[in-house]
């Protein structure tokens, strides 16, 4: 029971984090459209790292 709540909390945190990453990347792209590729690459890497954490939590909490 508690592990499910913990996993849920971590996924909520990861969701907030992903939202931040996506939002900031959008902002950055809007400010500097010529840097789109670099921003996208960095965004995907960070999002992937965060996603790994969220999935780890899901598996440990299952």
């Amino acid at each position: 029971m508690y592990n499910l709540i913990g996993a849920g909390l971590i996924v909520i945190g990861a969701g907030i984090g992903l939202g931040q990453i996506g939002g900031k990347a959008m902002e950055g792209i809007a400010r500097q459209p010529e840097a789109t590729n670099k921003i996208q690459t960095a965004m995907i890497i960070i999002a992937a790292l965060l996603e790994g954490l969220a999935f780890g939590a899901l598996f440990l909490g299952k």
């Binding site: 890497i45 790994g52 999935f55 899901l58 598996f59």
Partner: protein, 394 residues
């Protein structure tokens, strides 16, 4: 010759249609759905409850869950679909795969059809004086004196033990298929470059992808000086993962990149490559970080070592495994709507709902298939780049 072939074809076709027409409409619908919707819900009622006469159809939530978990796992035979005929007999469509086990008397091989699709240890296969049983997709060797598997209260076999299983399982078939496909495709591409500069045919599809991996993944992350050495590995990993992910979306029910063993193996390749090619400065930054107080250096060394040897490969393997498994579970759960919501929405409503949802989620899965291959390759390139980077001295 041509006429004969055509005749034969029409005869076979007629027989096939006759045969199929005899089956009930229900079965046809299930068959059509199984092939139209992706991912193998195809063997929808191929359950562990094989002995259940006339039943075996999935209708309860528990059975759906069990079925999905069964699909996620590897299996010893290649079952496309199965059904219960009007006479109440279970029919299976598919083909058996060889079972290769290393047991108490050395190497033993037999076909998995000898288990007769049994998965709870009731069918015993005798070979070379040894007795084997299959329980939950694992091969067990029975003690010589016994002729039946005995279970304890927690459903563990008490008189049998696991053997080293080297079988050609479904996942191995998938890996072999993709390996052969990639070998043929890229060999023909490489051959074409010997004759002319521009590839033709299928090579035109592959060339931009190869250039993409080289110019967008390998070169920016590893650096102009060293990238050529690692491009081969990165290309292999990229196409291997991508095509296997796509194979997982076909109705044949492969789930290769959703096996921990496969992703762990790929992560270990990356680990070995970046560990072995790390230069002096890379190890120095791990073991004795310059520029920080001496007292902190050992603490940092522990963290950095754990990061380089454990956390990096672990995150690689878990990400791929979890993404693909989760994708399969989502697709299958959405297809299962037609069984679980049949009572409340009616057969047509539940079917339409599950078709629409699973169609769109499958489109997302096609994107995920590419994205996960890209991320795995990208992070591998990043880790290799960290290991071979040359820092300018201040």
């Amino acid at each position: 010759m041509f006429n004969f072939a055509q005749n034969l074809e029409s005869v076979i076709f007629e027989q096939l249609t006759m045969k199929i027409a005899q089956k009930s409409i229900k079965f046809l619908t299930v068959l059509a759905l199984a092939f139209v919707t992706t991912s193998s819900f195809a063997n929808i009622d191929d359950q562990k409850h094989d002995d259940q006469k006339g039943g075996g159809r999935i209708s309860t939530d528990k059975q759906v869950k069990e079925y999905i978990l069964h699909h996620i796992k590897d299996s010893h035979d290649f079952n496309l679909f199965s059904y219960t005929s009007d006479a109440g007999e279970r029919k299976h469509f598919g083909f058996p795969l060889p079972v290769i086990v290393w047991s108490s008397k050395g190497l033993t091989t037999f076909m998995s059809s000898q288990f007769h699709h049994n998965d709870d240890g009731h069918v015993i296969v005798e070979k070379n004086g040894m007795k084997f049983a299959k329980i939950h997709s694992k091969i067990y060797e029975l003690n010589a004196s016994d002729s039946k598997v005995a279970f304890d209260a927690t459903h563990h076999a008490t008189n049998a033990h696991k053997v080293l299983d080297l079988s050609i399982t479904k996942s191995v078939v998938g890996v072999l298929l993709i390996g052969l496909f990639l070998f043929l495709a890229f060999r023909s591409l490489a051959k074409q470059y010997k004759k002319k500069q521009v590839p033709t045919g299928f090579g035109r599809v592959l060339e931009p992808l190869v250039l993409y991996v080289r110019d967008e993944i390998a070169r920016p992350n590893i650096g102009d000086k060293h990238y050529r050495r690692f491009t081969g590995y990165l290309l292999t990993v990229f196409f291997f993962i991508w095509t296997l992910n796509l194979l997982g979306l076909t109705p044949f029910g492969f789930n290769v990149t959703g096996q921990l063993a496969v992703t762990a193996c790929l992560a270990i390749f990356t680990l070995v490559i970046y560990t072995a090619s790390g230069n002096k400065e890379y190890w120095m930054h791990i073991l004795w970080m310059p520029g920080v107080p001496v007292l902190i250096r050992p603490v940092l060394a522990v963290i950095e070592l754990a990061g380089a040897l454990l956390i990096k490969p672990f995150s690689l393997l878990v990400r791929l495994f979890a993404n693909i498994s989760a994708g399969h579970i989502v697709v299958m759960s959405l297809i299962a709507i037609m069984f679980t919501l049949k009572a409340s929405l009616g057969v047509a409503g539940a079917t339409i709902l599950s078709m629409v949802l699973s169609f769109f989620i499958t489109l997302i899965e096609v994107l995920v298939a590419f994205l996960q291959a890209y991320i795995f390759t990208m992070l591998s390139a990043l880790f290799i780049g960290m290991a071979v980077a040359e820092h300018e001295h201040h």
